[in-house]
């Protein structure tokens, strides 16, 4: 292809370039379809008639229309509870993590912070080396956090990677002169951080909130090792038990109402599709809003490391 196009020595598009562009279109199109198809399929299956799903008739668009799988999820005490739990955990980590990351990242970005390099190094080393699963579990256990909501919140409350990215953002966007003039006017470090730095950092605040929210919402492993009380389960763990372990107990899921139990039994298969859709919606809704900020934040992080 390349050799042929050289014969046409013009700046306008050659036949080879046109063909390559068409090839690119086809390849990228195929990739998009392969990404989209499973998502659409699961969505359609969750909205189809129960019989169409169990007989495997659904392949792209919903056959019939029924939202009974969704009502079942929200009427099931344990599943509904797990959704609320996940929202709570994500909200707490967003609040704690974002604040700690902004404040800590800012402090580390200040060139006049005594011990700055040593402190930064102490954070960065944990990106290369960590205590691992068992020692971390023992710490959580010894702190008495097992089977409490804090075991779902505190271990993941700070991401060193995000801290380093935020630090890079501050050192690039907050000029030293700004700090000096604020100090001249009598501002303390606190005042400067809350009144000047935070309002200037909306993009990086948004990125941090998104990342903390999505990571916590999507996490299941902490729940798996730290929790035994089903009342505290996050949605992902409840889902894992139903989807992967296939331990679906309609009696437990539906409470004590016998008609509900029978109903749950009938739509057990479809329930899985509805759960997948419910678990996917918050992250997929959140990311387009901050996508612009996100690419920007990633760039800053990648340039400065």
């Amino acid at each position: 292809m390349a050799a042929k196009s050289r014969t046409a020595n013009r700046i306008t598009e050659t036949r080879g370039d046109k063909r390559l562009n068409i090839t690119l279109l086809v390849v990228l199109g195929a990739f998009s379809v392969s990404v989209l198809y499973p998502l659409i399929y699961v969505m359609s299956a969750s909205l189809s008639e129960t019989s169409a799903v169990t007989s495997g008739e659904v392949w792209l668009f919903p056959i019939g229309f029924s939202t009974n799988a969704y009502t079942a999820v929200f009427e099931s005490p344990l599943l509904f509870r797990s959704i609320l739990n996940s929202l709570f955990y994500a909200g707490m980590v967003i609040a704690i993590g974002t604040f700690a990351t902004m404040a800590g990242g800012y402090a580390l970005s200040r060139r006049d912070l005594p011990g700055r390099n040593l402190l930064t190094f102490a954070f960065m080393i944990t990106m290369l080396f960590s205590g691992g699963m068992i020692p971390t579990y023992l710490v959580v256990r010894d702190l008495g956090l097992l089977n409490t909501v804090w075991s779902m919140i505190l271990p993941g409350a700070v991401s060193v990677w995000q801290l380093i990215i935020s630090r890079a953002f501050f050192s690039q966007t907050i000029p030293h002169e700004l700090l000096e003039s604020a100090k001249m006017d009598g501002a303390s470090d606190f005042t400067f951080f809350f009144k000047v730095v935070l309002p200037l950092s909306v993009p990086v605040i948004a990125v941090n909130m998104l990342l903390y929210g999505v990571t916590t919402w999507n996490a299941f492993f902490n729940g798996l090792i730290y929790l035994t009380d089903e009342e505290l389960y996050p949605l992902q763990l409840a889902m894992r038990n139903i989807l992967v372990q296939n331990t679906f107990d309609p009696a437990k899921m539906a409470g004590v109402d016998p008609t509900k139990i029978a109903e749950m039994q009938a739509i057990a298969g479809k329930l899985k599709y509805a759960l997948i859709v419910i678990a996917s919606i918050p992250p997929l809704l959140a990311y387009p809003f901050v996508q612009k900020h996100f690419v920007k934040g990633m760039m800053i992080g990648s340039v400065k490391g």
Partner: protein
Amino acid sequence: MTQMLNTNDGTASTDSAHKGGAASESTIRSNRPVPLLKRMARSWQLYVLLLPSLIWLVVFAYLPMYGLQIAFREFNPMQGIIDSPWVGLAQFERFFESNNFVPLLWNTIALALYELIAGFPIPIVLALALNALRQKYLSRSVQLITYAPNFLSVVVVVGILMMILDPQIGVVHQVLGALGIDAPQFLTDPGWFRHVFVWSGIWQTAGFSAIMYLAALSSVPPELHEAAKVDGASLFRRMVHIDLPSIMPIAVILLILSVGNILNTGFEKVLLLQNPLNLTVSQVIDTYVYEVGLKSPIPQFSYATAIGLFKSIVGLILLLAVNFFANKTTKSGLF
């Protein structure tokens, strides 16, 4: 550095002079560096800002590192970390001599290498294609679509896999059946485990990983492309000779990082895709640590920690080796 300290000193002193005039003239004029303790006291508010993340760092990153010593002890929960007896390298020897050692190491490395080899070039190709596509609005739509799965949880991805590859009602089996092909048992056949794992991972992350490369490509000066066009270079040639070299530095950095992480390969997803039938290929070091350390009725904390530590050390050595190699060959290492 001295200059910076001085200006700093100056502003701080004027500040205090404004307030009460407590600082004497001589300290403002003097060129002597301010003692560390004094500077630290002056910056106390910054330390307060750093405190939340610092506490987290000590408790959830450094305490576990301190706890790593149980890999060299016979940990007894009754006695605690410090009072449990030292056993030296006995836990490690037990692992190296066990029948699990070779298969575990092989499963971990094979899965990681497969993922690295298949997963590393695809985002690069994707970014080159997205960048070269003339229809920019299409390029943006493809990006938007292919980012999406990156935000889904592993449970959701594995859930989707199980629905689609289900032998009874799964779409894949129905399509293959309609074509007259005898569909394999994707989820339980050990021969399919690695393919399912790696390609679903590419499905999930390729679009998002392309971001970094697209950013690097956006900084390629357009004059280079114009000049090459004048010389009659085709689109393909420009992709190979202009675009590709411009993303090499970032590609090397990402490669080093993924090699450093190679043994951590998608532990949670392996665990979710694992079942008794595919255990011969799906048992990797991390899942084994979980199995003997936390899942078993009699947790063997010390043994599991030693296995985990062995994995971290191998990972660290790999990272340093690749970084050394990258520094030698391309001069664009990580550190």
